[in-house]
């Protein structure tokens, strides 16, 4: 049974359908179901509260002049008002649950609802990080199980669970490397090699821990230039940071050689594992010579991005780096599961602590739920479908758009440059904004930096062929329109979003980072 466009509820005559709208701007600015919404500070709710709390039966006079007297400036909404406020706002967001969200490098895959339910079991969601360990044996066991899955999938002997996101994982990895060099008394290694195509967090992290960053060149086929790297390796190099699959969506064919060269030069190989989704279940980084690699549980293992976070960035470690892992970690003996929280005994070489407590337990539960649901077979299928979907998109667009690396397959994302837009006056940004009108979130743009006007499309494995086709058709139609000179469609886009294009320059030039009362505004 196949679907014809005519009967699936899409407008059969889009031109006709919107013809009438123009004539009828509403009287109040209303737009049907799309509700505009003021800030909570504008709702006249200074003296209200949406909580019913009893009066305290002891006063605070013991605190004397520590007590705050002045007003704080926090409005309080009744529950109906609050619900409506945030529901209205939510409807101004795009989301995975609405349509394809092809942000390359971000792995916007489906977030299973089972995981949300599991993370909210009181035994996980309502336990305190410092309860006696005897009262949280199941929680510690869960961390142990998660560690087992991560180590097995990556083929690495150890894992530090506590980093709170990918960048925090990078920090953890580099701190372990730092500690390892320290332990050898090797203080001269002050440089980290990073390919130009790397994600911004790689150089930023290296700098953050006091390393200076040197860039590695790229080959014409989008991989690390081995020659260049070899030339730059030396006694001052602490580590190389290489993303694999890399940010061009390509597998580093020479990865084993990269590792060998780095090790030969006394450096460690930090692998950015943000793109692990492309190879999970098919390739184990441990087989490639990696010393440390973070895994974004919020990418490969589906914990929700939540409009910016939280995530979790466990770091798997090689035998060489394992002793330096940060506390806490889990050990298991006949008495049960224990958190090693102190840098002594088994943890005497630990480089320290990444954060208070044990890290992102809520994400551990979700990730483990995801892994158990997929199993070894399902996870392998994840990688295969992710790669299949990306290659399908690349194949279906390559005649109209210019793939940055046309030869050979890509991994989980398809990278295009903007050569095909030359002479059209349409930029990558314009094109992206026009995608919004057609109902899709734009791809990642202008990243990686090694490709001009980059468009990095990562569909993930949780898209159906139907949605991919819908997406491809929209991009093909837009590409043709761009080439046909329909410039206004792009320059003015988006036309159909809750807002039109926003003035980012103005925002940065006169930053207004919080609401202030109109009086104060006027006085500014």
């Amino acid at each position: 049974m196949t679907t014809t466009m005519a009967n699936v509820g899409r407008p059969t005559r889009p031109e006709a359908a919107s013809e009438n709208n123009e004539l009828h701007a509403t009287l109040t600015g209303g737009r049907g179901l799309l509700q505009d919404e003021a800030l909570i500070f504008e709702l006249n709710a200074w003296d209200k509260t949406g909580l019913d709390l009893p009066e305290a039966d002891r006063d605070a006079s013991d605190l004397g002049d520590l007590v705050r007297k002045e007003p704080i400036g926090l409005p309080g909404l009744s529950e109906p008002e609050a619900l409506r406020h945030y529901v209205r706002l939510s409807q101004k967001n795009h989301a995975i649950d609405l349509a394809l969200y092809p942000l390359g490098s971000c792995t916007m895959k489906h977030n299973p609802r089972l995981n949300e339910k599991m993370a909210r079991l009181p035994g996980f969601g309502d336990v305190h990080p410092l309860q006696p360990q005897s009262t949280v044996q199941g929680a510690i066991e869960l961390m142990d199980q998660l560690a087992h899955w991560l180590k097995t999938l990556t083929g690495m002997p150890a894992v530090a669970l506590s980093p709170k996101a990918g960048a925090h994982g990078e920090l953890c990895g580099l701190l372990a490397i730092h500690a390892a060099h320290d332990a050898k008394g090797d203080a001269a290694r002050r440089v980290v090699l990073v390919p130009t195509s790397a994600h911004g967090t790689n150089p930023a992290t290296a700098a953050f821990v006091g390393y200076s960053v040197r860039e590695i060149a790229q080959t014409p086929d989008g991989r690390v230039d081995l020659k260049d790297m070899e030339a730059k390796l030396g006694p001052d190099i602490a580590a190389i940071m290489v993303t694999n699959p890399n940010t061009c969506g390509l597998f580093e064919r020479d990865v084993i050689e990269i590792a060998r060269l780095a090790h030969a030069a006394g450096a460690y190989f930090y692998c950015d594992g943000a793109n692990f989704n492309a190879i999970v279940g098919r390739v184990r980084p441990g087989d490639l010579g990696v010393d440390a690699m973070h895994i974004n549980l919020h990418k490969t293992f589906s914990t929700p991005h939540g409009g910016g976070g939280p995530g979790a960035g466990p770091v798997v470690l090689s035998q060489a780096l394992a002793p330096y892992a940060p506390v806490p970690w889990v050990v298991h003996d006949k008495d049960g599961f224990h958190l090693v929280e102190e840098e002594r005994d088994v943890a005497e070489k630990s480089f320290g602590r990444m954060c208070a407590f044990q890290g992102q337990m809520g994400m551990y539960v979700r990730a483990l739920s995801y892994m158990m649901s997929h199993g070894s077979d399902g996870l392998r299928q994840v990688a295969e479908d992710a790669v299949l979907n990306a290659n399908y998109i690349k194949a279906r667009l390559k005649d109209l758009m210019t793939p940055a690396f046309p030869d050979g397959p890509c991994m989980h994302e398809a990278l295009f440059d903007d050569r095909w837009l030359e002479g059209t006056e349409v930029t990558t940004l314009d094109f992206a904004k026009a995608m919004i009108d057609e109902g899709f979130h734009p791809m990642t743009m202008y990243f990686p930096l090694v490709v001009h006007g980059a468009m990095l499309i990562e569909p993930t494995e949780t898209e159906s062929k139907q949605e991919l086709d819908r997406f491809v058709e929209a991009l093909r139609a837009l590409a043709k329109a761009a080439k046909a000179g329909d410039v206004e469609r792009f320059k003015g886009a988006p036309y159909h979003a809750p807002l039109r294009r926003l003035d980012e320059t103005r925002a940065a030039r006169q930053p207004k980072l919080k609401w202030t009362a109109p009086m104060a505004q006027a006085a500014e």
């Binding site: 800030l39 909570i40 949406g50 709390l53 002891r58 605070a60 605190l63 520590l66 926090l74 309080g76 529950e79 939510s90 101004k92 967001n93 489906h110 309502d126 336990v127 199941g138 929680a139 899955w149 709170k164 996101a165 920090l171 580099l174 911004g200 930023a204 992290t205 084993i256 390739v283 991005h305 939540g306 409009g307 976070g309 939280p310 940060p326 602590r353 990444m354 208070a356 407590f357 992102q360 539960v365 158990m372 649901s373 997929h374 199993g375 077979d377 399902g378 295969e384 299949l388 050979g408 397959p409 494995e461 159906s464 988006p494 807002l499 926003l502 003035d503 925002a507 930053p511 609401w515």
Partner: protein, 447 residues
């Protein structure tokens, strides 16, 4: 597999369109030696029911805070979160969206962040706040690095009242970045010793109020001393609800506030995810880490919001960025904002008063127990007690009696002495009955 939409037939068709024979042809770039044919050695896929059974079994081995009289704090607090908060943060449009890079279709998230920043700034008494950090401890570490950037000095003085995990996390990072950390002796009134430790090399002074022992302090004098020495004052807050009752750090002269927001909107979660609050004086804005959301207008002149000042950030400035942070704690910030919007000033003050009242009652009840000495004189909702048996054993014995009676200070700081000190907290979730139960259980344990 229920999460994978492609059918076998789809896969075959798509391979055809790509022009390859099998999926293996798409993995040709993987070195031969690293190609794995079989499955990794892990269980195969499971249905929802099976996964739910397995995980529920693990969950059942833990004692939820809500199921017993509960008095643990030390940086994570059990508060009641209105049901509507968890309902709203689960809306698809919030839960399954990314960092709001495309403002035209992310106004929901962006307006929330603008509200969040305003609430955080107002609550802390500061000029600007960012769009969240991972948690309070990493926010503190970032604050120290920021102070180094701002002052170009390399020494950080930590009060002995700072949460040991926070100190530890900051030291770990500082070690690599050549910041000298001076950790003052832990003491109930540790803040008294801070001013003497400030010198001309000091980039920043880090004080926590209420401190890890619960002591609430006016840090204005420390602020003056720090400023006089050209150093910044970083105020750490681990219990955000305290700000409903206590003077704001801004009012006491803080330059940077690094706080844990978990108490508001976010559950205990065995330690994470939480939400770091980060606020500063306006002149420091461009040295702040993390995302910032700002107001602007669209092409039609309508008000809207965007991420801004991103030239501070890693994706633009790379190794010159103010921080490496990318993913932050967005959804927890949303929860925080919703909970705060429901409370408002009126509710927050009331909540803080209740917390304080319960803690006073708890203090009175425990003081009456033989073998207990209350150490903290002025506190918000948490204080330290000294017991005549080792704290670790006492807490374990209480747990066996079904009372989660607090956190032994020595667990946070094993080398710090204080083996007989327990940090005990009381929030609005503690009933008068719970307090009685605790007191009698403690008498038995100490008898």
């Amino acid at each position: 597999m229920r999460y994978l939409p492609l059918s076998p037939q789809d896969r075959t068709e798509m391979l055809g369109v790509i022009g390859v024979k099998s999926i293996d042809d798409l993995f040709v770039d993987v070195p031969q030696s690293a190609r794995r044919d079989g499955l990794v050695d892990l269980p195969k896929h499971m249905g929802e029911l099976e996964v739910e059974r397995a995980l529920s079994k693990l969950a059942a081995k833990n004692t939820p805070a809500g199921s017993v009289p509960f008095f643990c704090g030390a940086g994570a607090y059990k508060h009641h979160v209105p049901a509507s908060v968890d309902h709203l943060i689960q809306r698809s449009e919030f839960l399954t969206s990314y960092t709001p890079y495309q403002p035209e279709i992310a106004q929901g998230t962006l307006q929330v962040l603008f509200e969040f920043q305003t609430q955080v700034a107002n609550l802390t008494g500061m000029d600007v706040a960012n769009a969240s950090m991972y948690d309070g401890s990493t926010a503190t570490a970032e604050a120290v690095l920021m102070a180094q950037r701002v002052t170009r000095r390399h020494k950080a003085v930590f009060s002995g009242g700072v949460h040991p995990h926070y100190l530890h996390a900051a030291e770990t990072l500082a070690h690599a970045t050549q910041i000298e950390t001076v950790a003052l002796e832990p003491a109930i009134d540790a803040e008294a010793k801070v001013i003497d430790a400030i010198d001309a090399d000091t980039a920043c002074v880090i004080v926590q109020t209420p401190n890890v022992f619960g002591t609430a302090t006016d840090v204005s004098k420390i602020a003056e001393a720090a400023h006089a020495a050209g150093a910044l004052l970083i105020v750490v807050v681990t219990e955000a609800v305290s700000l409903g009752l206590l003077k704001s750090p801004g009012a006491m002269g803080a330059d940077i506030v690094a706080a844990e927001g978990q108490s508001i909107g976010v559950g205990l979660n065995f330690g994470g995810p939480y939400v770091g609050l980060f606020a500063a004086r306006e002149k420091l804005t461009r040295q702040m880490p993390g995302r910032l959301c700002g107001e602007t207008v669209d092409a039609d002149g309508k008000r809207g919001y965007v991420l801004t000042l991103s030239t501070r950030e890693q994706h633009i400035r790379r190794d010159k960025a103010t921080s490496n942070i990318c993913t932050n704690s967005g959804l927890c910030a949303l929860a925080w904002t919703i909970h705060m919007s429901l409370m408002g000033e009126k509710g927050l003050r009331r909540l803080a008063e209740i917390n304080h009242a319960q803690a006073l009652k708890l203090r009175d009840a425990l003081k009456a127990v033989a073998g207990v000495e209350v150490l903290t004189p002025r506190f918000f909702n948490e204080f330290a007690i000294k017991t005549r048996k080792p704290a670790k054993d006492v807490v374990e014995a209480l747990a066996n009696k079904g009372v989660l009676g607090g956190v032994p200070y020595a667990r946070l700081h094993p080398e710090g002495g204080f083996e007989d000190v327990i940090l005990v907290a009381a929030t609005e979730t503690v009933t008068d009955g719970d307090i009685q139960t605790y007191a009698s259980a403690l008498s038995e344990v100490l008898a």
